[in-house]
Symmetry: D2
Subunit: 290 residues, 4 copies
């Protein structure tokens, strides 16, 4: 009998970095959480505890913090640079993956003008970047999470399939609430990741708002299609849309004449709709997608 070591790797998670740029008249802050993973020829550490090929996870943390101290550009650039450092500097490292979350802060207003050195958190704006590097090169993914959207009209769900367990009523007028998770790749040799991020976020939001929804699936595809149409170099976008159910409350037993529609909000269970929308060749018909 033999035990074989198959896939393996190691790294550091939860590396928190706060950057404060104070050289200009207006300060700027960056708030990052980083995770690194290295793959390579580390078998001896697993077999015998010979660590001569193991770069400590503490060193990986230090490398992250040192790189974050420079003018690194966007988090996509930082993630790519870190993977290059790990792979290029250590012959035993064959692959590296760096995942970064950036939380946004904006200048607070004082007497109607933005303060130069005081900021408040903008918790819904979480940017994501991931760089994966191996012998074939580097692949960069951008993303976002935490964008909660609520559509109070223009949402239906009916005509669905039924099985012996189906009790759901058809809905011709429901509210639709989700929290967008998105990740996308860009073709060519992309730059200006922040501008692309803003564009993707804008089109996702506008498509959610403007689509008359017959299913969250339909809304999802409309969101992805809109991004593909409007953000020229996005090659593919993956969307995960939880469906946070809002259950109408029947007020009739209470003899109340309501001024608003009232819902119970459920955290669990929740639907999950997923899909990846990719850019096809120009000469295909839009509806001919198989």
């Amino acid at each position: 009998m033999t035990a074989i070591l198959a896939d393996h790797g190691y790294g550091k998670a939860g590396i928190r970095v706060g950057d404060v740029h104070r050289s200009g008249a207006e300060h700027r802050i960056r708030d990052l959480t980083v995770r690194t993973t290295l793959t390579g020829r580390f078998e001896d550490s697993y077999f015998t505890g010979d660590n001569s090929t193991v770069l400590p996870t503490d060193s990986q943390k230090n490398a992250v913090q040192a790189h974050a101290a420079g003018d690194f550009g966007d988090i996509e650039d930082l993630a790519a640079a870190l993977t290059a450092y790990f792979v290029d500097s250590q012959d035993v490292v064959e692959g590296a993956c760096v995942h970064i979350e950036e939380r946004a802060w904006q200048a607070v207003d004082v007497d109607g003008k933005p303060a130069p050195d005081c900021f408040q958190a903008v918790p819904d704006l979480v940017r994501l970047a991931r760089a994966e590097r191996d012998a074939a090169g580097v692949r960069i993914t951008s993303g976002l999470r935490g964008l909660r959207l609520f559509k109070s009209a223009g949402s239906e769900f009916h005509g669905f399939r039924r099985d012996r367990y189906t009790t759901l009523a058809e809905a011709t007028d429901r509210v639709l609430v989700t929290e967008v998770q998105a990740s996308w790749t860009r073709a060519g040799d992309p730059t200006d990741w922040a501008a692309a991020h803003r564009e993707v976020r804008r089109h996702l939001t506008e498509a959610f708002a403007e689509t008359h929804s017959l299913a969250l699936q339909q809304t999802l595809f409309a969101m992805g299609e809109r991004v593909i149409e409007h953000v020229r170099d996005v090659a593919s976008i993956k969307l995960t849309l939880p469906n946070q159910h809002h259950i109408p409350i029947d007020l009739a037993p209470f003899g109340v004449a309501p001024a608003a529609d009232v819902f119970t909000v459920l955290d669990e269970p929740y639907g999950v709709i997923e899909g990846t929308v990719t850019r096809g060749p120009d000469n295909r018909d839009l509806k001919d997608r198989t």
Copy 2:
């Protein structure tokens, strides 16, 4: 030997209510989480399980949802109305406390204009209200939480007391990061709770930004003082300010010439500075506060 029932009460927590107002051209949504607590003559339920004085927590939830369906005004008004309902309608109920959190949503922009029926969550804007009612009447408290602020200049901490365990270095230039929790009461017969809330929030933020801080304690008092000075009917404000420590990272060992000051962000441990600032009589000197 005798076992005596001292303070006791019961209620419902985690009552989630979503209100959707769709009568006008522009919809409006409210997102509430409510907790109720009743006190009164419920001893028989504790002693023998005789529930004839016990209004079920499920009924309390229904009452909350039915009241939330009306044009209730601000959450302070809703909390007060609910306590009145419980105390007035049930002779055995001697006191009621209702606590409400409201999370904000704002209309999303589509082509630069706010959509009439689509909203995104604004997670840093959490309003709080609490009404406590007993035989003496009702006391209403407003509040906020979740406001994270970061001051990148104008913060020092030195000249502090030392004991045998003191190793902290003095700081003449540090960053100051907190998440404001505030609750306040208003004098007289206050109305327009939302406007007061906006004013309190604005003055807390501006005072944090404008105070050159020699201690978070000093910043706290400046914030409270500013509110007392500018929001005429605030009688008292309680502030809890965690101090989220940002530890400077020494990059010297790495031979890096940094473009930014880099910090490790700690979630634990954290300082907690608390204080209540109240309005005194007009003829007292501002610095004569004992």
Copy 3:
């Protein structure tokens, strides 16, 4: 107009301490999370940033860790010793409160025998202690949290009061699920806190199991009464019992002959039943509690 500083204080939260006792043949580990709060004559720090009376929260953390390195006994003893240190060593400190949580670990079994130096976490065993000291002396509270209990028979709820919002059905056979939070004080000059903790935990659990419940209120009082009867020096015990609702699922529409009763488990909303049971004079009748 005058702004007055009323109640105020400061301290350190989230102080994590791991103790490893390795002097004996069998190691022992302690896993503590501590919070300190000091009150006293700190006004100048709030008014002007004069910190000469302010012992840094970092020093408080160091004091906690240094005291935790000794043979401190139980967490109640440690909390008391720390408050004594703060009040006695600093003339400006008039009061101190120290709150400690201890999470349990037990030796893992290897070949059926406990390992001397390897442990696994026992997450449901969370002990709490709090010491509050001021000029009048010290008050010590013990507690526990995280004890989830599920009673699958012997629970009813009916005969309750009804209002216009009551729609709840009466239940003569329901399941009862809670997560016990308890805190208690002991009379006299108590010692051996760990043994008392085990006794209180045992009697709370047994009373929950043995009480035929007509209301969670009744169960609560039975639990407190049992502790008062059996743990001789407990003076008072406060219990908070959430009622985690389990809603029976109607399987009739599906034509299923179930092998078990099936419930949907709700995290929100949940009932909250609270009560404090205290020890009365010996000559009072048990049911004469007002």
Copy 4:
């Protein structure tokens, strides 16, 4: 330009089910959280909102609850049965994945004997099962999470690789703390999933305790190897071991003679060591693993 729908699917998450078996003298409870995902020919829903191929996520929830009401055996059996139901009953469903978590409860002791109808949660015992079914058949994975282990002796880390960012000191005597996440597959036509789970858990724990660790990587492989050696039909086991750092506190500045080694416990950052150990052919040498 064409937008193409690539991978897509949908389902329900956070389905909570409580089962109470009350037919015997001793009750038994099951506490499940289930997630379903279906893949298949749902494109029309994404493209046009034609939902005629979409089985609602609400129906999936009902199917889960109905199946959970039967004598389903182990959670691996339930997951497999549910995937079979979805794929077999709906021609448009081509694949199904069902993931189940089961939290353990054990009978409480009353007077030293287990109660027939009262239970307490055992929060560290979380069992996982996942069934994935497509045209090629079903693949079942078992797993666990939440097992926190602490080794107070027999752990070193030195001889590691150094780069320009390495500042970590070598350790010849450190503590090692992790929280085991494991998932494994079994060969042949396995039955009695619960017994296999107990065996895997026992061997993981014993290997962690007995391995003198020169690296958490080494411990990981020893744990996987032990399972492969002792649990005959385990084909492969994937382990993820976070390294929760415990930083020794230097008490020298405080003049304290400690009774214990004292550590600061960090939640972030943390190391993550991963690896999959698989069963090889019998005639290979144990150290010849490539």
